[in-house]
Amino acid sequence: MALLSMQNISKTFPGVKALDRVNLDVKQGEIHAVVGENGAGKSTLMKVLSGVYPHGQYDGEIIYNGAPARFSGISDSEKQGIIIIHQELALVPQLSIAENIFLGNECAERGVINWRETNQRTEQLLKKVGLAEAPTTKVDNIGVGKQQLVEIAKALSKDVKLLILDEPTAALQENDSRKLLDLMLELKAQGVTSIIISHKLNEVRYVADSVTVIRDGMTVSKLDAKAGLSEDDIVRDMVGRDMTHRFPEHERTPGEVLMEVSDWSVWHPEHAERRVIKNASFHVRAGEVVGIAGLMGSGRTELAMSIFGRSYGRNISGTVKLKGQPIDVSTVDRAISAGISYVTEDRKALGLVLDETIRFNTTLANLDGVSSGPILKRNEETRVAERYRKALAIRTPSVFQKTVNLSGGNQQKVVLAKWLFTAPEVLILDEPTRGIDVGAKYEIYTIINDLAAEGKGVVMISSEMPELLGMCDRIYVMNEGALVGELAAGDASQERIMSLIVNE
């Protein structure tokens, strides 16, 4: 029996069709996996389902429990037992586990909280999810894995019928992930239906009864686990083309060593005793694309940001040389003028001034390039912004469009334009294709190839191993703050990278 059936769901954002007649059918009592690449539309679909985008803001029909459902908001869908746990956890760190679980749903009589009941019920819930913590423990004091369990306990407290987990293991260590997946199976045995969004196919195979693959906002295929799931099939459906065509062709002949970082060590900004980067040494040649692989939290971003004007950490030691000469990278503007650029992994929070125009953002890191003395030459600015709009194929009616209105891929191109305008020798790209659609990814790859062809050095940090394998000449592997291995393009494979991480 189908618990949920989403039929022909379409959703459009300014400039992007995020969902295009998507169908999703979830049977009562199963674990259903929704897989797809970043930007395929999975999260948008779940937001439609949970009422974040209320009825009327999308097209199509949702049949839930045998009746058409038109949710007006999250609280509406929650009342009917649909509970979503987002990638970014929605807990209040300053409150206790019990307070978080019953937030908005307190065990109270006329506004007065019954703490005994609250704590007792919390204990039962925590037992159910297998978390051995006191109900009064502050959420701030437990790890991300345990916080995830608190979220699930919170969902259980609300009499959940359909539990949605959006990339639940993205931030978890291997054994925490396993625990979480086992818990999902256990909940299934108790009759809870779940949807898991993931692109870790081994996890999908472990828990899912059926799979829906979404690509570019469309349902591509529905697979049944009973018939056996083949990862190759799923990957092909996800990507929509063979691996060989996902990356533009390139031929590179790296030249002299351009940038060389030696013995780089960084301590945590708050926990002074924690060393985040441990004696990292690496180099990049002119015209070379070098990858840095590693799990989330392995220190890749911290390495890059600490090099870029000490934007992360303290007690930083080590040297950076450019063309054999030591350079001063102690502040961001010094790093920029030395010839280093860093394209952040978080374009919305760290890359763009969202409420400002493309022009504003394009010139921001090199205002001197469009001014005489302290006075801006605004026509020159417009010219520069137009030049990059054309060169990077930023799809926008004009460079006076606010960047907040652009799609992820176009936003990423604006960030790239900003850094290209600083005329760097070395570009450090941190997750340059995160959360953008497949077509835009291809264009970003093309830009990277062009940069290498111009003789720039490119350092590419990415969590997507196929991307590193498809783009890089060499790959460094990072684990727990140290560079634990280096592989030439010909020798590298996902397995070898993983084994370097695991066997450290």
Binding site: D216, T344, P374
Partner: protein, 414 residues
């Protein structure tokens, strides 16, 4: 590719934008101007023409001069993502300091003014230091400053009013620029217009200013056209410029019928032009907007965010000091209560002018018009004899309405 194609659709949408759509997407800028005109027209009618009498127009400018001077600095502080609650107290303190230096110690007014501006800068720097380099919320730092400088003024004046000031100090607030043109021109004009007298300098300045505004507008428009930038419809451009130019000439004409150009108007006008220029066309201005719009992104773009914040507060201190001097000179005495709660009027003016509490948004011209709007409301209601109780309520509601209007507009677009 489907996604790529759907991306290009807005391009056509922009080109076919109708006048109505243009108006609704730029409602805020026009709304403020319309509101000011509407409020002035309303009071002109209900006060039987008192509002726009020459003497009252002059008064209106003098009364609001110190608010406008401080609003310039406050706009920058607010755009940078901060707030300064201390400006009223600092203004009062500097007035007190000037009074003690000039009246009690007989120092020269010029030296006093220079020293007072420097002290204002130091006060701003001291507060900015904690905000910028220690990351202490500006609300708290300047709340503390508000109390400290309120207390310091009391202490400095020993609870008494100190005055009066010598003439050469008073002129900065109450003086007028003498008519530089031969008296004959003014007299001839007065004869033609049927007025008692006409200050030709004031009238000529008004005409020149109006011509300048129109010329800058035309030049900008020509440039926009050359670069294919979306611009306001021609009818709007003409209407807006005619209104602004006419208003400038009208106000100056009124001034010319009374005593001519007030000194403080010259100060105010020059400062407004300078700050509008800084915020719109200099790298420093651009960086302040980036700082307020997204501090982290600004920092990662090589902008020295701490130093900018520090400078914004230092600048605010200097302007608060300037306002303090003008205020003291206007009242011809320094009182312990001077500047009390004035920071709220200044902040209200900036928000009415379209600045955003979260930073990164706002214009100098908006802040100045916002201050005038508040000023006209004050003045008009006073002429009507409306009690201070109702005045406060109405001003509060106007502020709320302006901000609701902002949020409504933003939601509608977003």
């Amino acid at each position: 590719m489907e996604l790529a194609e759907s991306d290009t659709n807005p391009a056509q949408a922009v080109k076919t934008k109708s006048i109505g759509e243009y108006l609704s997407s730029h409602l805020r800028q026009y709304g403020l101007l319309f509101a000011l005109i509407a409020v002035m027209a309303f009071f002109e009618v209900v006060t039987d023409g008192t509002l726009l009498r020459a003497v009252n127009v002059t008064n209106l400018l003098l009364q609001n001069s110190y608010i406008i001077i401080m609003a310039l600095g406050m706009l920058i502080v607010i755009v940078s993502g901060n707030i300064d609650l201390s400006v009223g107290s600092v203004m009062g303190f500097i007035g007190a300091l000037a009074a003690v230096m000039i009246v009690n110690y007989g120092m020269s007014p010029f030296l006093t003014m220079v020293l007072c501006l420097a002290v204002g800068g130091l006060i701003g720097a001291a507060q900015g230091y904690w905000v910028a380099y220690w990351k202490i919320p500006s609300f708290i730092v300047t709340l503390a400053g508000m109390l400290v400088f309120r207390g310091l003024s009391l202490w400095l004046l020993e609870g008494q009013s100190v005055g009066p000031f010598p003439k050469e100090f008073q002129v900065i607030a109450t003086g007028f620029v003498p008519d530089l043109f031969p008296a004959g021109i003014g007299e001839t004009l007065a004869g033609i217009l049927g007025e008692r007298k006409v200050n030709f300098l004031a009238l000529a300045t008004g005409i020149a200013a109006a011509a300048l505004v129109v010329w800058i507008g035309l030049r900008q428009r020509a440039q926009n056209k050359a670069y294919g930038i979306e611009d306001e419809p021609k009818s709007f451009f003409i209407a807006r410029n005619v209104i602004v130019a006419a208003a400038l000439i009208f106000v100056m004409y009124k001034l010319s019928l009374f005593r001519g150009l007030p000194n403080v108007l010259i100060t105010m006008g020059i400062l407004t032009v300078i700050y509008a220029f800084i915020t719109e066309t200099t790298t420093v201005g651009r960086r302040i907007y980036a700082l307020g719009g997204n501090q982290k992104a600004a920092k990662l773009s090589g902008i020295k965010t701490e130093r900018l914040t520090f400078l914004a507060f230092t600048n605010m201190g200097v302007l608060a000091a300037a306002a303090g001097l003008v205020f003291a000179a206007r009242l011809n005495t320094a009182t312990p209560k001077a500047g009390f709660a004035l920071e709220l009027d200044v902040i209200a003016a900036v928000f009415i002018g379209g600045a955003s509490m979260s930073g990164g948004v706002g214009t100098i011209i908006g802040a100045v018009v916002g201050a005038f709007l508040m000023g006209v409301l004050n003045n008009g209601m006073s002429i009507m004899g409306i009690g201070i109780d109702y005045q406060q309520m109405i001003k509060g509601l106007v502020l709320l309405a302006a901000v609701i209007f902002d949020v409504y507009n933003k939601n509608k677009q977003g």
